[in-house]
Amino acid sequence: MGGYAGRILYVDLTSSRIEGKPLDLEFARRYIGGLGFGARIYLDLIRNRPDFDALSADNPFVLMTGPLTGMRMHAVARWTIGSRSPLTGFWGDCNIGGFFGAELKFAGYDGIVFTGEAHTPTYIAIEDDVVEIRDARKYWGKDVYTVNDGVITDHKGKSKKPGQVLGIGPAGENLVRFASIINNKGHVAGRTGLGAVWGAKKLKAIFVRGTGKLKVAHPNRFNSLREDLKHLYDGNITIEGLRAFGTASHMDLGIISGDIPIKNWQRTDWDRIDEIGPIAYGEKILTRNKSCYGCGVGCKREAEVKEGPFSFDKGPGPEYETIATFGTMCLNPSIESIGKANDICNRYGMDTVTCGSTIAFAIECFENGLINENDTGGLKLTWGNSETIVAMVEKIGKREGFGSILSEGSARAAEQIGGNASDFLTTVKGLEAPMHDPRAAHGYGLAYAVTPRGACHTASPIYSILGLGMYQPEIPELAEEISEMSSEGMAKLNIACQDFGMFFSNCAVFCNLGANILMASHAVDLVNHVTGFDYTIKEVMELGRRIWYLKRGLSNLFGARAKHDRLPRRLLTPMETGPTKGSVPDMDLMVKEFYKLRAFNEKGIPTKEILEELDLPELAELLYPSSSPPGHLHRLTMPDT
């Protein structure tokens, strides 16, 4: 077997039992890796007791790499995590870059499954075959950067390699519902708040150091294709744009088409946007470019502000999504303050998309008199107030004062604030929408509505297809002429994107940015050369389809229904001016077509027949228990977000 490390580590934190189980080749072929492995293992763990809270010991946590993770080439350093989300109550997952996935595989593991919860703060130390549960009390309460450096120092001297740390900060410990898990200070598993799952389990960190090497099934074929692809990368505008400006380059591109949400999604233009654009970023806070393991694209950024109210030490710089949430969304023209907000989020361990969006939501509540300075502890939550935005980020991380309300995420905060606060929400299934406007590309609207984890632009390549220039002529549905501001045909397009994307960025775990320029056949060939399998594009689409239903089924099992497959009113309000003037996705049309093509019933659940056809009988039995009357659906208690 090539590519895979060959073992999955099972750690039960309650009993301190650790077990390495061999990876079954047939399982690997069927589920590819990443979230394919994770979702399947997770379902098997919960199928006999599926009713639990996300922050309880009953919620397993899965961390899985892909078959290419750890290979020395562009855009394959990524890996995944999954669990029930404390923010949404539904299935939550993340796709992360950095170095941890590669190091885990060098240590001999394709993934880790956590169950139970520790009695005291704990971290896991993995050094090849030696796996230990260790006392993390001295790190509890410490920020992500301190823990990262401290754990590496603690393990210094045993090997020349420093090892990698994946950890949570105080936000995860404080059960902030959008807490993140962070590798190497800046590679963040942010969305859906799975850092709080670790906090509830009292799992502070994982240290891993591996000395093994990964095998490639067909090294000559792999090396030859990797060489060929170098020519594809050199001079490509997407790659060169990422190299030159990082993801911040989208500040200049997205504003043209009305893709960037401004003032909590109320505008598509802002005369101060250049003050936080890629040129300002480069001039004011950038120190150097960085990259993930083995990747030569180098889209990551390091930043620093040496003096002033927003000073912070050299460290990971903000990405596009962060610049937009703390910048355009809040009408905040200070790139230094955005860098500072990003630094606080990284140190406390918080998702910048939900954090910034929740602050923008709170600013609108403040503007409309639903909250005032008495509520906010004296902070004037006004548009463009950089100091207040930064101060509120810290309060959220600490769960201090009004920050405690916002630490629940905007949907729960709206319930507490009351009045018409929910009018200002930008959430789907309780997850704040990413910084790409469906009024500029209607297909995003359907993607946000039906993605199992909530509003998401990365679960499938729909954003790459409609917005970033991915072109897949080998997949007929993805090669058709596209009209961004049309809802016609977007259900079919989304489904093809979901099926391909499940293989591409969820299971094989190609990077949604750096691998964007690959043809489908390149991706399939790379997986085949490394693993020795003989997948075809058709087969990976079929496998992707099956795993997509598995993920959707998990959210259904946790209570997701048709009423959750909706966009918030704010995202469906047409703009009066600008590039998206008058444009609104036709959600009724798209969702109706999608349900029909995906064989969903009117409740938003895949029919029993389609689940059985896809060979998912366990999921079918959970959603349609045979002991229940005909038509009865298994349903769990769920927040109505």
Binding site: I237, A244, D252, S257, G469
Partner: protein
């Protein structure tokens, strides 16, 4: 047939617009700072326009195929027309080769903030110069 009936008409409209941009200090100053020489090669109808930002003012030279340009852009006249309305997704157009760009990509991307105001200017220009039939409503 495309939006423009002839090369002459397309040249009249587009070169006039480029010169309009060159006379707008907020745009011209940023373009001049780039020092770039850009050649646009259009098809259906055919046209070549060189925009020289290397001097003290923006020099727009239709038909100049000889001057060495640092950036070469080629596209159809219809795509160019849509682009100036802000209705072309640049990355998608480049990937699908509706537009082809050759030259230093960071420098090309650096121009985007400079030309941003032009998207609002193009429909106004068409209206004011008697080209309202080309406007996209």
């Amino acid at each position: 047939m495309g939006v423009f009936e002839s090369s002459e008409k397309f040249e009249e409209v587009l070169v006039g617009f480029f010169r309009n941009l060159g006379d707008t200090p907020s745009i011209a100053n940023k373009l001049l700072a780039s020092k770039l020489i850009i050649r646009f090669t259009y098809s259906d109808p055919d046209l070549v326009v060189l925009v020289d930002c290397s001097g003290d003012k923006i020099d727009v030279r239709p038909g100049d195929k000889d001057t060495k340009a640092e950036v070469e852009m080629s596209m159809s006249a219809d795509i160019a027309h849509k682009f100036w309305f802000g209705k072309v997704n640049l990355m998608a157009a480049l990937t699908r080769r509706q537009m082809v760009a050759k030259g230093p990509i960071p420098k090309i991307l650096n121009l985007l903030p400079a030309i941003k105001p032009s998207y609002a200017m193009y429909p106004k220009y068409l209206e004011e110069q008697g080209y309202s039939k080309y406007n996209i409503h």
